[in-house]
Amino acid sequence: MELYDGPLDVKEIFGRWLDEEAESNYGAYIPFVGTIRAEDDIEALSFDIYEPILQKWFDEWQEKAKALGAVVKMAHARGDVPVHTSSYVSAVFSPKRRVALELIDAFVEDFKANAPIWKYDVKNGKRIYAEDRSTPMDGSGLLA
């Protein structure tokens, strides 16, 4: 798991992960690259990450992938990420395509739902919590 301050160097990450698994005999490599869209007059999105729980979440996914003979990787940005640059890259490597296609879908969707990362719109230099696009994590409301 890799965390960066500001936008990701997507080509470097893609190429390094490719090289890391070049001799691992995986037949399918599927990255997912998330890029900040220009919409709603934002200058950037900004992210807070709570790393200890993100690391546990990611470790559990590594175990799930391993049980399928696969590998997962991820990189995410902290702080401000300008429009048209990338905040998120994740990837699956697996021997066969079916496992890879299903795993990247499940991995990305669970990431959106349960990775402890908070998103803010940046407008006129101000951070505004993206509440309408955020999802309560599994188990929310316990203390209410």
Partner: protein
């Protein structure tokens, strides 16, 4: 004493309190008016492990984290 910390956008300083279960923490946090809009949509971690049971026992030095709705990616 246990410590409660508020992650991401909640923007509230950590609190210390006496509590023997998570139910005690719930009771105490419901007294904080600034949390009223948050508690029903927040998840909870104990010492960085997600928890989902109000009867979870706490011990001196434990750290409880309150996690508001997320949106990574």
């Amino acid at each position: 004493m246990i410590k409660v910390e508020f992650l991401g956008p909640i923007g509230k300083a950590p609190m210390e309190m006496e509590a023997s279960t998570l139910a005690d923490v719930a009771t105490r946090l419901k007294e904080e008016s600034e949390l009223s809009a948050w508690l029903d949509k927040c998840a909870v971690a104990l010492n960085d492990t997600m928890v989902n049971d109000l009867t979870t026992k706490l011990k001196d030095g434990d750290r409880v984290s309150i996690l508001p709705p997320v949106c990574g990616g």
